[in-house]
Amino acid sequence: MNTAEAFESQEAPENQTLEMLRVQDLHAFYGESHILHGVNFDVKRGELVTLLGRNGAGRSTTLKAIMNMVGRRTGSIVINGNETLRMKPHHIPRLGIGYCPEERGIFASLDVHENLLLPPTVRSGGMSLDEIYAMFPNLYESRKSQGTRLSGGEQQMLAMARILRTGARLLLLDEITEGLAPVIVQKPGRGISAAKRARHAHRAG
């Protein structure tokens, strides 16, 4: 399950378009190999979009192409009204995107707390550290231990929690249940729902 989820924007007046992400005729290449052949989809505010496909269909590559992590891209990727095809990779997250990679990308040389604080804030209104630790008590318990010492499920929680902190309005989550024991597969889903509720509560409050 590779998902792109858009939280409702708090900045409705300044951004009238409903679309947070529009991918049009996206082609992506790794060196000589042509991976994506004309991908089209869009994600509206508050929407949860899931990409389905067999192995090698290009779901992860689609997310990586949005983050400008592949070799070459053609077509159009518009994020919050900004065409990002020519943007440098580190400018794209600052449009309000949080990316959770398939391999989770927990850093072994950082402890859990440092992993959590690592991604820079991209928008105001992200979850605070207290809120995150309240939502994921396991992470608080093991905040001093090496990031990669956590169990697979906890690492997945950490990978998600750290982008919830950044205030990103659009989350790109790549296979967040991959390799998890069936009993904890529900957990990331609950995490997303909780994050969404928290965001709505934020908006109301």
């Binding site: 400008n68 997250p93 600052r94 990679p101 850093f107 072994a108 040389s109 950082l110 690592l118």
Partner: protein
């Protein structure tokens, strides 16, 4: 006279100090190499030349601009480190996407250019840099005579190593560096300006080398070739320690200095080769280095 392990106490302690001072230089230089290699994946062959440039900048700064030692200790690392940043930005970055061997060749070539230019201008004989007056002389500790400047070098180098350790292991910028060393692409995807981080890191590593150069200026003749001979030993130290943590680089540097110092006492003939013998032994027993992680 008190004897210790078959040699007079004063000789023993003298060689220990000498070994520690040499070790402090190994530590400073291998630290810079390790930091640069971690993020850029480039073996910085210009490191010895940058150390030499540090010593030369101190010498020329004093001769032509009247910059004293203490000012040089602050200014020179900034200036040489700044030059390093320009080097990274305009040369190394252009070949960053190629095989890392190109980086090795480029930095080696640059080292030759720096050395050759200075040899052309100043010759190879080397010049003396006056020890600052306050650090002249020494302390009689009763069991040995401790030259003040060497004691100062030890303190300053260790302080700088600790500062580096603190910056890398305990600050947010250091966390960026550690994370970037592991997976720089993901750091980009979080919105971290990795190219800038790389420039700063290279500049910092070069600055460390230049700092070591200024510390070395009053100890050794300041000559264009002073870096290249030292760098070979430092590479051996890095191989011995492995590309592990910062603390390990510091400990290995000091340890190798001490081993070298004692070899001078007990078997002087081997003092120039002992580090390489240790290196061979380590490569045979622990190919990833004493503190390195097995790949």
């Amino acid at each position: 006279m008190t004897m210790i392990f078959g040699v007079p106490m004063a000789v023993f302690m003298g060689q220990l100090t000498l070994g520690l001072v040499n070790g402090a230089f190994y530590a400073l230089l291998s630290l810079g190499l390790a930091v640069i290699f971690g993020l850029l994946k480039i073996v910085n062959f210009a490191h010895g030349a940058q150390y030499m440039l540090g010593a030369f900048a101190a010498l020329l700064g004093f001769r032509y601009l009247g910059i004293n030692y203490w000012l040089a200790l602050i200014l020179v690392p900034l200036v040489v480190g700044g030059c390093g940043m320009l080097m990274e930005r305009f040369l190394l970055r252009r070949i960053a996407h190629l095989d890392h061997l190109y980086g090795l060749l480029l930095t080696f070539g640059l080292a030759l250019i720096f050395e050759g230019t200075l040899i052309n201008l100043f010759g190879v004989s080397g010049a003396r840099y006056a020890t600052p007056e306050i650090l002249l002389g020494g302390l009689n500790l009763g069991f040995m005579f401790l030259p003040t400047y060497r004691a100062w070098v030890l303190v300053a180098a260790l302080a700088m190593c600790l500062f580096t350790w603190f910056m890398i292991e305990r600050t947010r910028l250091g966390a960026y560096l550690r994370a970037g060393t592991e997976n720089s692409q993901l750091m980009q995807a979080f919105g971290v300006n990795v190219p800038l981080l790389i420039t700063l890191t290279y500049g910092f590593g070069v600055g460390l080398a230049a700092f070591a150069g200024v510390l070395a200026a009053p100890l050794y003749p300041v000559s264009p070739t002073m870096g290249s001979s030292l760098l070979i030993v430092v590479f051996a130290v890095v191989v011995i320690g492995g590309m592990g943590s910062i603390l390990c680089a510091i400990l290995t540097g000091l340890g190798m200095g001490i081993i070298e110092g004692f070899t001078k006492v007990y078997y002087p003939e081997a003092s120039n080769t002992v580090i390489f013998l240790v290196m061979i032994l380590v490569l045979m027993l622990r190919p990833a280095g004493l503190f390195g992680k097995e790949a």
